[in-house]
């Protein structure tokens, strides 16, 4: 029998565990990853010549990070690993890749998409000024290059990453001025029953908050961002916000890291024509999958945060589970008992993730309250007022229609940063449920592709 070709996209926790399962089954998968090194975002590895210890880099998750990296290192030679390789399209049963100007098209028998997540962002007036970062971007600067995004940094938004990155900055010796959380503290109390599904992670979160407070960082809950002060020449100079009690306050800073938890990178699943469903808890469209990770398209499997935000621990389980499902579908022997146990693990993490979604709710109302002169789409320079005017003029109420007329989501990020907020703004303006606004269709290339592609081939 010819060895089936399994392609794994992504070398984070899900992709690594998927690759490990394939190798254990005697298969040499192709692992495609955009990163220079494995680990993904959450367990991003520092450049080769950097020597910071695991505890310093990954805090409470140091053990998991190290175990994952060691697993990946052990797979080298047994997998066809292609780092710094962008999958820019999936079509015709092939994965289309680009690495610098080198292009390739790889057929597959099974394809596991472990594409990870990016920050879910809510625009704030002034968020285009230099010094304004996503939480993920702030974390990349620290983990990869050991630099802070500023001298005086504010963390604003909500979600576990807000506290994690802020505490990593404190740990690294950066000056964290304040943590401004849009979620009210009461939401966390209400979410406790779900959060107790994974007590260790819950306690990690509590410990992070306590560490920040001990370090003298001002932590505000239930705030409402009003404006990022600054100008185009000098960048961010401060944050104006309203406290939970409704009092307007300002805090001076030269950098701000923002995010409201995460959103899955689903573009490849979309290009592969996987079906999507609306998830009312997170107010996001997610690719459909069964309990093992099978998408609606035969031979395509979805795992990790790229399918649904369930966290890094769940990603390790769902990556392995997805690979076992693929192996089983290819007719290879798999341990059914292990699959059942992994399903149980993912279910537990899903309960915890539901708790997180409740504890750190997406402040959808902020989109509708954006002032007309606030930039909504940074790539294309479209303000909230521009989009509202287009809606009034054309009657557009569907995401792709509004994009066609206003350019919102049409730029190089393809709506990764503004798409969810734009949908909330449209829904509020049209007074329709956000699911009725639909979702921005992904278009190739999922990231910018050089016109020189294939030049030297």
């Amino acid at each position: 029998m010819v060895e089936p070709r399994i392609i794994i996209v992504g070398a984070g926790p899900a992709g690594t565990r998927a690759a490990e399962a394939c190798v254990q089954a005697g298969i040499r998968p192709i692992v495609l990853d955009e990163g220079r090194r494995d680990g993904g975002q959450i367990y991003r590895r520092q450049p080769d010549n950097f020597t910071r210890p695991y505890a310093k880099l990954y805090g409470s998750e140091a053990g998991r990070a190290q175990a994952l990296h060691e697993t990946f290192d052990g797979l080298k030679g047994k997998i066809d690993y292609r780092p710094e390789t962008l999958v820019w399209n999936i079509a015709g049963g092939q994965v289309w890749t680009a690495s610098q100007t080198y292009q390739d098209a790889l057929p597959y028998d099974a394809l596991l998409l472990c594409t990870g997540a990016t920050d879910r962002l809510m625009p704030v007036k002034g968020w285009q000024f230099a010094g304004s970062y996503s939480l993920g971007g702030a974390q990349v600067a620290l983990k990869s290059q050991a630099v802070s995004i500023g001298h005086k940094v504010v963390f604003m938004g909500s979600g576990p990453l807000l506290y994690l990155v802020a505490s990593q900055y404190v740990e690294a010796g950066a000056h964290v001025v304040a943590v401004l959380d849009t979620a009210p503290y009461s939401a966390r109390i209400k979410a406790l029953p779900d959060l107790l599904a994974v007590p260790s992670v819950l306690w990690n979160g509590v410990a992070l908050t306590m560490k920040l407070k001990r370090a003298g960082v001002a932590v505000y809950n239930g705030i409402k961002p009003m404006e990022i002060n600054g100008n185009a020449a000098e960048g961010v100079s401060g944050i104006r916000f309203r406290t939970g009690a409704g009092v307007e306050q300002q805090v001076a800073c030269d950098a701000v890291a923002m995010g409201h938890h995460l959103r899955p990178e689903t573009q490849l699943a979309d290009l592969a024509r996987c079906a999507f469903v609306f998830d009312p808890v997170t107010r996001q469209w997610l690719p459909e999958r069964d309990g093992d990770g099978r998408s609606s398209v035969a031979g395509i499997y979805l795992a990790g945060d790229g399918a649904k935000i369930l966290g890094a621990r769940s990603a390790e389980a769902s990556g392995r589970l997805g690979a076992l499902a693929a192996l089983a579908d290819l007719g290879l022997p798999v341990d059914k008992g292990e699959m059942a146990s992994l399903r149980g693990d993912v279910g537990t993490y899903a309960k915890f993730a539901r708790g997180l979604a409740k504890a750190f709710p997406w402040p959808s109302e902020q989109a509708s309250q954006l002032p007309d002169d606030a930039l909504l789409c940074r790539c294309e320079g479209v303000t909230a007022g521009d989009l509202r005017a287009v809606m009034r003029e054309t009657g557009a109420q569907e995401a792709n229609r509004a994009k066609a007329f206003s350019r919102v989501g049409m730029g190089r990020c393809q709506g990764r940063y503004c798409g969810l907020a734009a949908a909330e703004l449209i829904a509020a303006e049209a007074d329709i449920p956000v699911e009725q606004v639909g979702r921005l269709r992904a278009q190739a290339p999922v990231k910018p592709l050089t016109i020189a592609i294939g030049d030297d081939q």
């Binding site: 079509a91 092939q94 294309e380 730029g411 190739a444 290339p445």
Partner: protein, 378 residues
């Protein structure tokens, strides 16, 4: 019966939307029916060339009529469709020197129809437009052509028509059309029916499904354009640029919009699926497009594309549209199958069809587009 009017138009692309606007100008009541949303397929996804040069000489009167409308589009539509009269250049490559003669002959014939073209050597072109690569042998420059934004154009025509009283039904898929007595009865998938003594089919790639109902099937083939766009860069390329070549794969073109993005089009067209209402860009076609773009303008190799797209276009075997009255049924008119070249002439098509319907005649030559050319001899 959901509605009665003087004219029913089936198909809300640029042809149908502009016809609706001009029919209102003649005082006729209009119902425009669109399967999906206005201008979503060929009209909204094409390259956006507002180009007369390169069209068949017999089509230039229609193209001239259209350019007059484009020039006053802002006033006519009350909207900016990003029309720029910033020139158009057609070039040929060194390996096809015989095309220079074709360009000269075309320029002479076009001048007789009022289109002035200036022929330039490759070096003269590169002096003025340094982005051209060394393979470019010569070019034909049309100062009065340009480009516009397809995403905005057809919807702007439809909104202008609606302001003048045209009734527009989107999300209205027509499944049946027949003539009963003096009237056409048009039925939507959800059972709504519409009645009018005149029916205009502007249904693009779906045109054959309706013309067949009147005994006039045509061999239309659905395809999809191959489009890409770069990230924005400083605005410096004014004219739209295209390659003259007999090879489809080499036929690439580009234009820069005022915002700075460069829109790339051409090379092999992809498949499209009218029944699913989707068209896909095949990755190998993107790669071949980029390769030929590098040959045309090597410096563009330094940029990235950020998005590709396609849409559903209807192609006729002779690349000419079906436009004019039905040969079987009085009161029935067609304007579809524009074969990937309908955007520039679109408003002229709408105005001409409105004229034919309202006045019974037009001075614009439409003989080459008659549907009878596809009739099987009985």
């Amino acid at each position: 019966m959901s509605g009665a009017s003087d004219v029913i138009i089936v198909g809300g692309g640029l042809m149908g939307s502009s016809a609706a606007l001009f029919l209102r100008g003649h005082g006729l009541s209009v119902t425009l029916l669109e399967t999906d949303l206005i201008g979503r397929q060929a009209s909204g996804t094409n390259f956006g060339n507002v180009r007369r040069q390169g069209r068949p000489i017999h089509q230039l009167p229609l193209a001239n009529r259209a350019i007059a409308i484009w020039r006053q589009s802002r006033e006519l539509l009350g909207a900016d469709v990003e029309y720029l009269q910033s020139g158009h250049i057609r070039v040929c490559y060194r390996e096809r020197p015989e095309l220079v003669g074709s360009m000269e002959e075309y320029a002479a014939n076009a001048r007789a129809e009022g289109l002035e073209l200036e022929l330039l050597s490759g070096n003269a072109l590169r002096d003025q437009f340094p982005f051209f690569g060394p393979d470019v042998l010569a070019g034909s420059y049309s100062a009065t052509d340009g480009h516009a934004n397809p995403r905005l154009a057809a919807p702007a025509f439809a909104r202008a028509a609606a302001r003048l009283g045209a009734v527009i039904h989107e999300n209205t898929k027509i499944v049946d059309a027949q003539k009963v007595g003096e009237d056409f009865i048009v039925t939507a998938a959800d059972g709504r029916t519409f009645r009018a003594p005149i029916l205009l089919i502007t249904a693009g790639a779906w045109g054959n499904a309706l013309s067949s109902q009147f005994g006039e099937p045509v061999p239309i083939v659905p395809k999809g354009p191959n489009m890409s766009v770069t990230e924005p860069v400083p605005y410096s390329i004014l004219p739209a640029v295209g390659v003259m070549t007999p090879l489809e794969e080499e036929t690439v073109y580009f234009r820069q919009v005022a915002r700075g993005n460069i829109v790339l089009g051409g090379s092999t067209r992809g498949p499209s699926f009218p029944d699913q209402y989707r068209a896909y860009v095949e990755p190998q076609n993107t790669l071949s497009q980029l390769k030929h773009i590098r040959r045309l303008a090597p410096q563009l190799g330094k940029l990235n594309i950020i998005r590709v797209w396609s849409g559903i276009e209807g192609y006729m075997p002779d690349s000419q549209p079906v436009m004019g009255p039905s040969a079987t049924t009085s009161g029935l008119y067609y304007a579809f199958g524009f074969s990937g070249s309908g955007f520039q002439i679109g408003p002229g098509v709408g105005e001409t069809m409105a004229e034919i319907i309202a006045k019974g005649a037009t001075d614009i030559p439409i003989q080459p587009y008659r549907i009878e050319r596809f009739a099987t001899p009985s």
